[in-house]
Every structure is written in structure tokens, then in C-alpha cells.
Amino acid sequence: MAWHTVFPLLPPVLLAMCWPRPSPPSLMMGERSHAGDFSYVGIDAILEQMRRKAMKQGFELNIMVVGQSGLGKSTLMNTLFKSKVSRKSAQPNPEEKIPQTIEIKSISHDIEEKGVRMKLAVIDTPGFGDQINNENCWQPIMKFINDQYEAYLQEEINIDRKKRIPDSRVHCCIYFIPPTGHCLRPLDVEFMRRLSKVVNIVPVIAKADTLTLEERDDFKQTIREELRANGIDVYPQKEFDEDAEDRLINDKIREMIPFAVVGSDQEYQVNGKKILGRKTKWGTIEVENIAHCEFAYLRDLLIRTHMQNIKDITGSIHYEMYRVRRLNESNAGPGLAPGQAPTLVSAHTNGQTKVNGGPPNGMAAQCEVLTHEM
């Protein structure tokens, strides 16, 4: 090959002899070449190896949906994952009553697309915000999230631990805001304020087909201001932007949150195509049409572009914060006996996890409350 004489030796360049320095100064890019080539080493084959391993292992994702009943949470989940992932579809119950207390129900699904296998867990919270007295309604949810962190931590500090620790941590929490058109309610503010510190929150405006475009924009503006005024940091958080490129992309997203979504799992014919939508007397609302609602943006954010980032932030920031707090707590004093810490001892033995039901005694209850409050 004649070009060998033109480019005498183009090796992957030795950049610097460094000892551990964070970022290397890059001088020259090696040739993107193929096997049999003079200067090809094959380091970039590691990307392919990594991809193969990831595909073999499969992925895990845990999404929690929070909102009052009737806001369309289950429908939205079904629309997002284009299959019956919601609790209602899994456990059909014709007489759906509003539960007396908040329940937390998690259903796992195995889905596959183009060879990529994913274990999706949808965590539903029926009963949230439905009682007359909604004070402390975030507590069970916070406890659940912390319990997942705790289970992961316990497995991680085991001496004999599994090769791949099963990840049940809540990666993303979608919070449904009712489309009042005015502003956030105290319940919304309180919940998001507390939970944005432990989990990634993605607020969405539910049933957005009741708002006109202007109303929608005003509502979104108000919500954004209120979030800022209350110091609530929703996903994508400003402080976790990695570089300028990231910040640019995330700024665009931050301009658009909360997404105004409409969910539907029924297909209709529009212009000869079958699409998901809601059919009404005055027209058909197309779910995936960005002129109608912002579902497509939400789906792209959650699934197509930022899913790995969401999982990373959960794993490296929220979980680490929990871990720091927890390890400091047990060093702090002899007061924290094993029973009071949210350790799921039973989880080790039989795989079933049951929360210690009922308020044990005043002291323990207070301690529990303290460990879950911010």
C-alpha cells in the first residue's frame, strides 16, 4: 500500500508520561484503521467488547410514578413503554377503590427491543394525595426509596457479595401535576422539595389536553418560577452538568420542563396512519405529535438520551449521599441500635421485604421519622 511511505509511522501517540494526572493533553489522533494496517493497535475495540458485555447482562430501570388518582399515571406508563406495564393492567381489579393509606406497589417486567434486554420496574403509589389529611404523605415514599438504598448498601458491604448487586434503587420519579393552570399546590411543593434531595424528580403536567397552548406556557412559567423560588432542583440538575456541551443540552431541557403530556394506549386512524391518540368530538389528540403535546420530548429524555445519565446520577450521587449519611450516623453514637435503622434483616433470609408494620413505639417511630426527614 503506497500510503505507508507517505505517512511513515502514525502510531497511537504517546501523549505524556503522567502519574496520575486527571486529563491528558491530546496531541494527535491516531488513524482510524483496520486490522492488517501498520499502525493499528486495536484499543478502540474495547468499545465493542463493552457493548457486547452490556447487551449480555441486560439493563435495569426502576421508575416511580407519583400523583393523585385519576391523573393518568398508569396510562402514561403504558404509553411510554408501549405495553401494559402499569399496575392496573398487571392486577386488574374492576372495583378500584381509593386506598385508605398510601400503598407502594412495584411490578417488574422483562422487555426486549432489538436484542437489548431490560428489566423494568414500575413503582406505583396509589393513595398519594387522596386523603383528607395529607400531611406527611411523602414519608412512606421516602422510606421506600431509602429502603432500596439500604438494601443496596447492605449487599455492598457484605463480605461475600454477589457478582452483580441487584439494583432496586429508584432511578427516576415522575411527579404528576394536575392541570389547574394556576400554580403549584402546597402538597406539590412540599413533596418535590423533600424528594428532590434523594431521587431524580421529573415533573410532568398531566392531562395536558385541558390547557390551551397559551395557558400551558403560562402554567409552565409559573411552575418553573415556583420551583426556583423554593429551591427545588429537578432533573436535570444544574450542578451535575459535566461540561459545556452537557450544559447546553440540559439548558434546553430545563427551558421546557415540566413537560405537558397526554397519555393514551389506543390507536386511531389519522391521515391514513395508525397513531396513538385520544379521540374526542372536537378532534383527535395525537400523543406523539409535538405540536399537540410534549410526550415525545419526555420519552426522548427518559429513554432515548438520558437514561444512562439518570442511572448514573442515582448511583453516584444520591446513593453516595445516602451512604455517607448512613455511615456517619452509625459512627455518631451508640443510640442507633440495629432495630431502629431501616435494615431489612428479613431481606437476607427469604427475599421478601416487609416493612415493620405499624408504629412500634413512640421512640422508635420518632427515630424513624428523623432518619427519613431531611
Binding site: 505507508h4 497511537p12 504517546l14 501523549l15 508520561m17 503522567c18 489522533m29 499502525s39 486495536g42 484499543i43 478502540d44 475495540a45 474495547i46 468499545l47 467488547q49 463493552m50 457486547r52 458485555k53 439493563f59 430501570l61 408501549k82 405495553s83 406495564v85 393509606t101 407502594i104 417488574s108 417486567h109 422487555i111 432489538k114 436484542g115 437489548v116 431490560m118 386523603q131 389529611n133 404523605c137 412512606p140 422510606k143 458491604i157 463480605i159 461475600d160 432496586s168 459535566e242 432515548r304 437514561m307 444512562q308 445519565n309 453516584s316 453516595e320 455517607v324 452509625s330 459512627n331 451508640p334 440495629p338 435494615t343 434483616v345 427475599g351 416487609k354 416493612v355 408494620g357 405499624g358
Partner: protein, 426 residues
């Protein structure tokens, strides 16, 4: 009574997952791409340890493998002990950044007494595991930006004697096989002919098997590479030749070694197994090497280390014991022991002080006695002297008296004699 909201938790873990089929394109097939992108931004890290005698060609092979000049200098043969030299480099190929650390042994096999030769290597590997473990156990940790220095692959260079493995090789490999992925290579393979090489390889592998040395086997669980890996597993150990010099063969410049009887081309598969080594080590199994190091070797080290420190997963009643409790218990123990030691030391100190005090008192008393003795002695002497003085004075006074008496007598005599003379003259 305040209504406290109790959450009921429907069983989760034991519920089998439902398999669902999707009715449209959701889009999470881009997940592997997202993962790969993130890793590309972060960069990769790979650490190779080269063990072999001085002059066997470790540095040259590394240069050839990674197509760069790592600027190594020749080591002397007179090192009193085996040392390890680690150097880190940043390489980049297309958009992949690799932080490569090459650790070479210096002076391996040169000593007269090679019994402890393997120890510095084992210590180095353990040190890397230890620092990772320390980072993992920290409260505020940053595992994602931590520079992973654990050894991922160990290339063991076998001398091309053509007969069998040396006992040093066997001993060293046996010590290392549970700590690191060992890939044996036959160095300077251009000194062995093809038939000899075949026999040599069989001999080596049978010796390794009979001695229970577990070398790294290329993984067979992934269908895409299982076939290639099985074939390569049968060709271990690879016979390699390294060279950074170029020789023109035909109309190409290739890496080769030039002899009067011919040219050994490094990248020619009929001449040596270098290309296979590069394939296996870098192109096909680099990620698996890293994974094995993390999930098998590092976990083993961690388990042993923690058990050594006294942590257990289950206490005698086989109830799960959390690390926190054990740590607390140990801390209390340690504090108690510290207190005890402090007490002991304090007591010892007090005792010593007492002893010293009594000693000093004794000597004080002794001094006092001596002083008094001396005083008495002096008094006695003084008395004696006084006595002598008195005698002397007495003597003096009596002598004086006698002198005076004698003078008087003499004077009287003189006057009486004078009178007598006058009397006679008349």
C-alpha cells in the same frame, strides 16, 4: 391519636417478572450506545504487569504491542533484589482514550538466591488491591474518578530453553495465579524451530496443569467470540517476537528482526504468535480481563482481608451481622484496650517515681551520715591540735621562764665577779 400513614408493601422480590412484548418502537435500544458514550468520555484504564528475567524482551514487546516507544532503559544484572517499576502513559486511538500502566520487574531471576523473588511482585499486586479497598471503604468516596491501578493482566515471559519451565517460573506463577490473570508467553521465539516449539508448548501446558497453576482462560460464554477464544486457548502459551525496528520486505516496511539467514517478521502469523497475542489481549478480551480482575481476584482479596480483620457476615447464631456493628464492637474493644494500656502505663510511671524517690532518699541519708562522720573527725582532729598547741605553749612559757632565770643568774654572776675583781686590785 395522630393518624400515622402506614404503607403496605406488596411483595416484590419473589414476584416473577412478566415478560411483555412491545407494540411499537420505544427506543431503549440506544442504551448500550449511551453506556458506551459515557465510558468514552471517561476514558479507560488498563494495567499490565510484565514478569521475566532481565533481558528477555519485556520492554521491546510492550513497545511493539502498543506501537510506541516507551523510553525504557536497560536494567543492570546486578540488582540485589527484585524491584518493580511502573510507568503510566496516556494513549489515544480514534476517540478512545486509554490510560495504560506498564509495570516491569527489574532484576528478576538475577539473584543467587531466588527464594524470595516472587515476594515483591505479590506485594505490589496486593498494594494495588489494598488502595482500591481503602477507597471503597471510605465514607466520602469517589469511585468514578478513582484511577484504578489494579493489575489487569500479567504477562509471564518464559525463557526459550525448549525443554520445560524453570522451577522459578512454577513457583512464581503458583503464587500469582489467584491474584492476577496470568498469560504466559514464550519470549524470543525466533530461537526455537517450529517442531521444537510445538513440543515445548505441550510440555509447558502439561507442567502447568500438573502443578495446579491456573492461567487465564479466554472466556467462552459469548457466542461471537467463543470460537476464536477456544482456538486461542489451545495455542497458549503464545510464542512472541518483539521488534521496533523496520526492515523492508518486498515493497513494504515491516517490523522485523534481520539476521544474516533471513528476516523474522513480527506480524507474520507463520513466523510467530505476536498478532494472536495482540488480538487476544487487546482487541477481544481487554474488557473481560478487567472484569475478571474486579469480580474474581479483587473480591477474593477483599474477602480474605475483611475476614482477617475479623469481620464476618453472620455471627455464631448465624444472624446477619452488619459491618457497622462489627466495626462499632471493634472500635469499643480498641478503645477499651487503649484505656487499659494507658492505665498500665500510668501505674508503671507512678511506681517508677516511687522507686526513684526512695532511692534518692537513701542516698540523701547516706550523705548525711558521712557528713556527720567527717564533722566528728574534724572535731577530733581539732581537739588533738588544740592539745598540742597547749603543750607547745606550755613548753614555750617554761622555756621562757628558764631563760629569764638563767639570764638573771648570769647577770648576778657578772656583777658579783666585778666586785670581786675590784676588791682584788685594791
Amino acid at each position: 391519636m395522630p393518624q400515622r400513614q402506614v404503607s403496605r408493601f406488596v411483595n416484590r422480590g419473589t414476584d416473577p417478572s412478566r415478560s411483555l412484548s412491545l407494540s411499537g418502537h420505544v427506543g431503549f435500544d440506544s442504551l448500550p450506545d449511551q453506556l458506551v458514550n459515557k465510558s468514552t468520555c471517561q476514558g479507560f484504564c488498563f494495567n499490565i504487569l510484565c514478569i521475566g528475567e532481565t533481558g528477555i524482551g519485556k520492554s521491546t514487546l510492550m513497545d511493539t504491542l502498543f506501537n510506541t516507544n516507551f523510553e525504557n532503559f536497560e536494567a543492570s544484572h546486578f540488582e540485589p533484589q527484585v524491584k518493580l517499576r511502573a510507568q503510566t502513559y496516556d494513549l489515544q486511538e480514534s476517540n478512545v482514550r486509554l490510560r495504560l500502566t506498564v509495570v516491569n520487574t527489574v532484576g528478576f531471576g538475577d539473584q543467587m538466591n531466588k527464594q524470595e523473588s516472587y515476594q515483591p511482585v505479590v506485594d505490589y499486586i496486593d498494594r494495588q488491591f489494598e488502595s482500591y479497598l481503602q477507597e471503597e471503604l471510605k465514607i466520602k468516596r469517589s469511585l468514578h474518578s478513582y484511577h484504578d491501578s489494579r493489575v489487569h493482566a500479567c504477562l509471564y515471559f518464559i525463557s526459550p530453553t525448549g525443554h520445560s519451565l524453570k522451577s522459578l517460573d512454577l513457583v512464581t506463577m503458583k503464587k500469582l495465579d489467584s491474584k492476577v490473570n496470568i498469560i504466559p508467553v514464550i519470549a524470543k521465539a525466533d530461537t526455537i524451530s517450529k517442531s521444537e516449539l510445538h513440543k515445548f508448548k505441550i510440555k509447558i501446558m502439561s507442567e502447568l496443569v500438573s502443578n495446579g497453576v491456573q492461567i487465564y482462560q479466554f472466556p467462552l460464554d459469548d457466542e461471537t467470540v467463543a470460537q476464536v477464544n477456544t482456538a486461542m486457548n489451545g495455542l497458549l502459551p503464545f510464542a512472541v517476537v518483539g521488534s521496533t525496528e523496520e526492515v523492508s520486505v518486498g515493497n513494504k516496511m515491516v517490523k522485523a528482526r534481520q539476521y544474516p539467514w533471513g528476516v523474522v517478521q513480527v506480524e507474520n502469523e507463520t513466523h510467530c504468535d505476536f498478532v494472536k497475542l495482540r488480538e487476544m489481549l487487546i482487541c477481544v478480551n481487554m474488557e473481560d480481563l478487567r472484569e475478571q480482575t474486579h469480580t474474581a481476584h479483587y473480591e477474593l482479596y477483599r474477602r480474605c482481608k475483611l475476614e482477617e480483620m475479623g469481620f464476618k457476615d453472620t455471627d455464631p447464631e448465624s444472624k446477619p451481622v452488619s459491618l457497622q456493628e462489627t466495626y462499632e464492637a471493634k472500635r469499643q474493644e480498641f478503645l477499651l484496650e487503649l484505656q487499659k494500656r494507658e492505665e498500665e502505663m500510668r501505674q508503671m510511671f507512678v511506681q517508677r517515681v516511687k522507686e526513684k524517690e526512695s532511692e534518692l532518699k537513701d542516698s540523701e541519708r547516706e550523705l548525711q551520715n558521712r557528713f556527720e562522720q567527717l564533722k566528728r573527725l574534724h572535731a577530733d582532729e581539732k581537739a588533738a591540735l588544740e592539745e598540742k598547741r597547749r603543750l607547745l605553749e606550755d613548753d614555750q612559757s617554761s622555756f621562757g621562764k628558764r631563760r629569764a632565770a638563767a639570764q638573771l643568774l648570769a647577770a648576778q654572776n657578772l656583777t658579783s665577779n666585778g666586785k670581786k675583781d675590784k676588791d682584788r686590785k685594791k
